[in-house]
Symmetry: none
Subunit: 415 residues, 2 copies
Amino acid sequence: MDAVIISIGDELVLGQTVDTNAAWLSAELASRGIGTLWHLTVADSRPAIADAIRRAASETRLLIITGGLGPTDDDLTRHALADVLQTALGLDETSLAQITEFFTRRQRPMVDRNRIQAMIPAGATALPNDVGTAPGIYAQVGPAQVFIVPGVPSEMRHLFNVHIAPRLDELTGDTKRVIRTAMIHCFGEGESGIAERLGDLMARDRNPLVGTTVSDGIISARLRSEFPTTDQADRELEDTARLVHEALGPLVFGRDGQTLPGVVGELLKRNHQTLATAESCTAGLIGKMLTDAPGSSDYYLGGIIVYSDASKQRDLNIPADMLNTHGAVSEPVARLLAENVRERFDADYALSVTGIAGPGGATPDKPVGTVHFGLTIRDQPTQHLHRIFGGTRPFIRDLTAKTALNLLRLHLLNR
Amino acid sequence: MDAVIISIGDELVLGQTVDTNAAWLSAELASRGIGTLWHLTVADSRPAIADAIRRAASETRLLIITGGLGPTDDDLTRHALADVLQTALGLDETSLAQITEFFTRRQRPMVDRNRIQAMIPAGATALPNDVGTAPGIYAQVGPAQVFIVPGVPSEMRHLFNVHIAPRLDELTGDTKRVIRTAMIHCFGEGESGIAERLGDLMARDRNPLVGTTVSDGIISARLRSEFPTTDQADRELEDTARLVHEALGPLVFGRDGQTLPGVVGELLKRNHQTLATAESCTAGLIGKMLTDAPGSSDYYLGGIIVYSDASKQRDLNIPADMLNTHGAVSEPVARLLAENVRERFDADYALSVTGIAGPGGATPDKPVGTVHFGLTIRDQPTQHLHRIFGGTRPFIRDLTAKTALNLLRLHLLNR
């Protein structure tokens, strides 16, 4: 069975708010074996909402609608449902009592306007909401089961869990298929290169299906496994995950919620090892990424932001000669920055970056995007990497920080 | 005129990725007086994409599609457009040359698979993409102008700015209303406090209309001025902007594309003054923010990430006694970090932060969210600020960095 999700609100079609509800609901449905045909977002317009409900009800047996249940004049979802059902709104006394009780409990006055939230179309059922004032609404529209929940994410999630999720099993009872998904994250090669390596695994008629997606320099393989039983869907998903891992090797750094700095941190923590950083063009971004994870003080000791030549000389003893001869963006400077910051912090590892993030600063032999990386390891020779990245200043800086972290990750994997 | 936006991708309908493109595009269109009828999200399915294009083209004169232009087998948007146009895909030599050049410039091998990105339907036009490999596509479908851009947000934004935005004026030329919008950004007070100060300016029947929106601790007043002529819309917008400024005073730090670190940088640059940082709990985030702006090396000299107590002692001479007596998160440590990093970098100003970003690390008298700030000014007494922030670790760190920058901004305004 496939569902349709409709999100309602002027703030969404005006672009003032990003809709996170549709993705959350789709993920919940997918985990229960229900696909999503489409997401539709419409404005706070009574005819537009009614049209969307009619269209969805003709294409699906499960329709979930979020938003437009609030107390103000631009909340029109209940009216639109009444239009579709060709009925009128009526006061639901139980809901009114719950709303009144909600305000009493919070010692806040209930304004008359909130009464509208207890109105539902004749023939529909209220879905009690004990975390907010707007009850949800359930109705049958032709063959489709229609659930309407508030757009406030916390209320939407609560009503989904309490009222919708328990009814999904009976809805899907006759179709019996289960969908399991996974994301396998890679760094260090472009999307086309990843696709090349995946080869036939990406055939569109394969199950589990494998696709790719790109976000901030991270390429992820998306896996979707659809089978009659949970056991089989899980087993097939893991089989395909293994094949993806084999095809991509060390390009893979993590899965689902894992991040590149998080994985690097885990590897360091496991080894009881420490890290320091010397950042020029990223100016703190690597340190910031490393410390996004709680508990990062176990392995990250700190660093120096050597954003000026004076700081490179004074704080990490880069000789003026070296800066003059090779330039601040050069292999010898990257190497020495890493070596000296490691020594200074007495860390097991140190990473350094020096580069031209642009848009200014390019020279004939050093275009914007030129970055030199250093990785020093206690008692081992320093490693160096040279890259020329394309793109905008923020993209180059983000990719620089991730490339540095990935350099360390690859070393930690191979040690 | 109203537009339609279609987002394409299995990862979107599966709920693995939240679609931020549709909201961004809608906001851009709204700022140019173009509403959005609806957003639709569909899977990587050739017939589903083709159906969506046909339906949208029958309801709107402007259709923007994101996603499905990558080099892999699940990228099917170009094929679906060809189906709608009842034509075949053909190789666009100019695009192929640009893609080849993209790889050459980055010294990366181009795999054969990338050739598909130079294929566009006969009768359509390629929109060159100089920040990625996939050119966009423009086509006329019935009365609708159809623009297709990659789903990668940075490429989508770039192609919108370069190829779509310049053509919107001619598209909207015949409509008789002009909308001008502005965002006035504030920091240092909550949304309800800002609303309180704005008072009647926020009346819903006012034109220009004033609303508020919150994003990452920044409260912005949204102004929307709608009048028959450009002159009048602009003049009324500026009149209201002035009233908003008067109501909010120094809470206002900037407008539209301005950012808090960018504004601080501008103030420093104007004064030919310099800044250094000492970061504990933000671990580089302040440095990163300050250097998001090109040319930031004019005023930002660098800093020390004193993430460990050892680094605080060794790199900024915080006495062990002081750490033992007061703790690393304390007023004397914040003050001394700022003073010593300023002296070390010989900067005009220095900012320091030391705090508990959580979720661990709290003590009975120092809850999670406790942060001490130091601001040192050459030849002046050091300032100190103490805050207790609520929220998650990333939120506390982001707010800490912005509060530090705002402390300096307020000083620079008053000097």
